[in-house]
């Protein structure tokens, strides 16, 4: 079965946190134990600051480092490629959380590792994952097979060269300096 991929459009994500709440609600985990987090990336100085929000959750890697280190083999991949934790088998040792390069695994108080399960049961029903359908901005997508990068976006090279195959692509804005009102603005300024 062809595996889907998460497309996270940072050019459109305004950090509204709806996906995070929706995911927390589905997970039904304790306050503070969340499978999805949002990192704020601020840079630059006044009056030209920059801002981007990065949604981070388990990327269901093709070669999951978490599964490799689990001492009780509680983490495995199902036929669709979802990396899942068997809560009954998990001892809460935390090895997987340490091994995950994305810090996408959290240990709940009861000593069970919690992470995104891809909403695999909902995807199997033909729904989009919870975070994707929760996004008011349509900045989150789950695509099988992955669509091409839109012309005014670039794929963020954040995972290049790390030898991992996370099922995620982050998109960033690519400014087209040759088209649209920006041109008119420059012409206007000349006039």
């Amino acid at each position: 079965m062809e595996q889907g991929i998460f497309i996270i459009d940072m050019a459109t994500c305004t950090g509204c946190q709806t996906c995070r709440i929706a995911c927390h609600d589905r997970a039904d985990s304790a306050d503070g134990i969340e499978p999805l987090r949002i990192e704020t990336e601020e840079a630059g100085l006044y009056p030209t600051p920059s801002l981007a929000y990065r949604v981070v959750h388990c990327y269901h890697c093709a070669e999951p480092s978490c599964a490799a280190v689990c001492p009780v083999a509680a983490i495995s991949q199902d036929a669709a490629g979802w990396v899942l934790i068997d809560a009954a088998a998990c001892t809460g040792c935390g090895a997987c959380a340490d091994a995950c390069p994305f810090h996408a695994i959290t240990l709940a108080d009861e000593g069970i590792a919690v992470k995104c399960d891809g909403c695999h049961d909902e995807v199997a029903r033909g729904w989009e994952p919870t975070c994707v359908r929760a996004c008011p901005m349509r900045a989150l997508h789950f695509e099988i097979p992955p669509a091409e990068v839109p012309k005014n976006r670039i794929a963020d090279p954040c995972f290049d060269g790390q030898g991992i195959e996370p099922r995620v692509v982050y998109l960033r804005w690519r400014r087209d300096e040759t088209a649209g009102p920006a041109t008119q603005r420059r012409e206007g300024a000349k006039g």
């Binding site: 305004t14 946190q17 709440i21 589905r26 306050d31 069970i112 008011p136």
Partner: protein, 722 residues
């Protein structure tokens, strides 16, 4: 393989029902929610899966506040029983009492108030809590009650967009339906002026349409003292000093005049433009409103002003979308009037992809009849910002002796919260209908527990910038002893001898059936009942399109039938005839001072709305609280001068109070300006320092000339707490 997540698991003996509902927050949006209910409890709140997005009618996807309602059902702040005060007012000390005892007590106090001083001695205050255009709950239920009981004193105006409403009234002859948000897809330039639609949302798809317009090549400019989350969607940020928007507009107009960029629309569709032209060109006062004039006032560089003027005048169609922040200032009417004027000057009024830059109506394009009311009318109105003043320094006869507050965290949501709390404590009796133990409820003598959206049914209209209608269903039984506002007022009406007049013998369900039966004449109520939602189809509405194409045949409701740039009514209110800039500290003839000098309070404070709350609603939700800490935004320059680092607790002081909260030192705010999101709950300590960081602890009750709230014109000083 099972998931590590203890998800809601359906079984044949314990099926999950999906109940459609919507929020009734005072947020500017109505969105499509579904409650997953199992064994009589909500197990999850979702948006309906499997619905497709269409270009013009995308799904109505709820925000974090709506999605987090599941958690809000079980917070300790929830009021579950009728409560009677046992400690001092504001102490939060209450005992649970039975419904009959509580209702008898409230009815007795109402009867006594009527007998001693007349019905006008009762203040009926509502708003900013659970609000509905139509329906059975909140103010709809209480208005009907008081309309039968007798003329009471009611708060009037609104704390949201009063100055914009006045501007629309003076210039356009009233609040007109705005363009459908889908028309933004055709915009080539979008000016978000004090419009933080990523957080305030104002229509579930407004930001989504702006993002799509940008992807189609539109240029998006954010004009705001802060680089808000909306900045993600913007090509350019233009920081502007709060309260100077009309000055920037005047300079843009000056450039447009100088460069011959003004549209003929001002000649064909407006009156009074020549007076405004004389003002911006300096013919009337000798001061041309050039970019060089405006730069030191607004903080916007001259080159940026010229570029903005050329952009807005030449890129067509262009939508100027003003937020409500600019008009919540001392002379907020001028900003609101100036925006409409500028839209006329660029000819973007009445076209698809343009905007008339005015506030739209609250009314939906899918209207339904609501609960009827108001045969008595009202004894009197007091402006919403001045209710506390009317209690403390009253000139009213009879004086107010009792308050009945419904779906409103009144002391928190109106300026000068310390004074508001003091005002309530002077009354003989205060009743609050509430879902949560808000700071206002803490000041009550009796608190009556009210059902939340998940515990009651209603017909709910969208705001005027959207076109949809919900049949919001009751998902679960009421929490503990909570009841609906309708039930409470039915019971009180019965005790006061007009039970049948109030209910007409109808249950809530029968009222909804009646509303639906009446609406069936013009709406597809079957779809509404079956799907829980009804949406319009067809081409998106363009505001003022008919007026544009035929101004004589479709005149506005103004004296001239045209857009009136010069407004005699504004002048009567104490403002210039035209939308000229008036400085925040310009002399005023109002009874109260502006709240300290700039030397005492050198920093401006703005108090915008947060994505974590709707006003103060949902404040008690732990899921939302943990998303972001409640902080004071302060620029790195101002923080450096005061030795403040991010995370330090600071004391923010104004003429009206002191609030303590952590600082967030940021490059995303203009130097000289600070920001506290409004809506966190007021929590004064023993020294009177508000540990809750409620923005209105610091704001002033001084109104704008026509009566608008001025919560973005606060002045403060900030220092690191010891």
């Amino acid at each position: 393989m099972m998931s590590a997540m203890p998800n809601a698991h359906e079984s044949p003996s314990s099926p999950i029902q999906k109940i459609p509902f919507t929020c009734t927050f005072d947020c500017g949006s109505r969105c499509e929610l579904v409650a997953w209910v199992q064994d009589g409890s909500v197990v999850r709140v979702d948006t309906p899966p499997g619905r497709p997005d269409t270009t013009l009618r995308p799904r109505l996807v709820p925000c974090a506040r709506g999605r987090a309602q599941h958690r809000l059902l079980s917070v300790p702040e929830r009021v579950g029983h009728p409560l009677r005060r046992t400690g001092p007012r504001g102490s939060g000390e209450f005992e649970a009492v039975g419904w009959d005892d509580a209702l008898d007590e409230v009815a007795q106090h109402l009867a006594e108030a009527r007998e001693r001083r007349g019905t006008a001695s009762v203040l009926h205050a509502t708003g900013a809590g659970s609000v509905l255009g139509r329906g059975l709950h909140g103010a709809a239920a209480s208005r009907r009650f008081f309309s039968h009981w007798g003329p009471v004193t009611q708060t009037s105006g609104n704390a949201s967009n009063y100055c914009s409403c006045k501007a629309a009234e003076w210039m356009l002859g009233g609040r007109l339906p705005g363009s459908d948000r889908a028309t933004l897809l055709d915009s080539r330039l979008i000016l978000l002026w004090g419009m933080n639609l990523a957080e305030t949302i104002m229509g579930p798809n407004t930001a989504h349409f702006v993002a799509q317009a940008r992807d189609r090549g539109a240029h998006v400019i954010l004009i705001d003292p802060r680089y808000t989350d909306t900045g993600v969607l913007a090509d350019q940020w233009v920081p502007i000093r709060p309260g100077t928007d009309a000055a920037l507009v005047a300079a843009l107009a000056n450039v447009m005049e100088d460069e011959g960029l003004v549209s003929d629309f001002v000649t064909t569709h407006t009156t009074g433009y020549d007076l405004y032209r004389q003002y911006v060109q300096g013919e009337s006062d000798g001061v041309p409103k050039t970019p060089g004039w405006a730069a030191p006032i607004t903080g916007v560089p001259t080159e940026t002003i010229r570029q903005l003027a050329r952009d807005y005048a030449t890129v067509k169609p262009a939508a100027l979308l003003p937020g409500w922040g600019p008009q919540r200032s001392r002379f907020g009417e001028q900003a609101a009037r100036a925006f409409i004027t500028l839209a006329c000057m660029t000819g973007n009024v009445g076209i698809r992809g343009g905007s008339c830059a005015s506030v739209g109506t609250r009314a939906s394009s899918l209207p339904v009849p609501g609960l009827p009311g108001e045969p008595h009318g009202l004894a009197r109105h007091i402006p919403i910002g001045l209710w506390a003043q009317e209690i403390l320094e009253t000139t009213l006869e009879p004086a107010l002796s009792m308050a009945y507050i419904v779906a409103s965290n009144l002391i928190n949501r109106t300026p000068e919260t310390n004074r508001n709390a003091a005002a309530l404590s002077t009354l003989d009796f205060v009743v609050v209908n509430e879902q949560y133990m808000t700071p206002t409820a803490r000041c009550a003598d009796v608190v009556l527990p009210i059902c939340t959206d998940l515990e009651r049914a209603d017909i709910v209209e969208s705001w005027g910038h959207d076109s949809h209608l919900f049949y919001s269903r009751q998902a679960v039984p009421p929490h503990d002893e909570a009841r609906t506002d309708y039930w409470v007022f039915s019971q009180l009406a019965q005790r006061l001898g007009f039970g049948f007049e109030y209910t007409q013998g109808r249950t809530e369900t029968e009222w909804i059936d009646l509303i639906l039966a009446k609406a069936a004449a013009h709406l597809d109520t079957k779809t509404l009942q079956d799907d829980g939602i009804l949406r319009t189809d067809g081409e998106p509405r363009v505001a003022l399109a008919e007026f544009r194409s035929d101004p004589a045949g479709h005149p506005l409701n103004t004296p001239s039938g045209r857009i009136e740039i010069a407004s005699p009514e504004a002048q009567i209110a104490g403002l210039p005839l035209i939308p000229a800039h008036v400085a925040d500290d310009a002399p005023r003839t109002t009874p109260r001072t502006v709240g300290g000098t700039t030397a005492q309070y050198p920093l401006q404070l703005i108090t915008p709305h947060s994505k974590l709350r709707s006003n103060s609603c949902a404040h008690a939700n732990p899921w939302l609280q943990q998303l972001e800490p409640h902080v004071l935004w302060i620029s790195s320059q101002d923080a450096f001068e005061r030795g403040i680092n991010s995370g330090d607790t600071v004391e923010v002081r104004s003429e009206f109070g002191v609030a303590a909260l952590p600082a967030r030192v940021t490059e995303r705010i203009m130097p000289g300006v600070t920001c506290i999101y409004q809506g966190t709950w007021y929590a004064p300590d023993a020294d009177g320092v508000d540990r809750g960081g409620c923005a209105n602890t610091l704001t002033s009750q001084q109104e704008s000339p026509s009566g608008g709230i001025t919560t973005h014109s606060a002045r403060v000083e900030v220092r690191r707490a010891e």
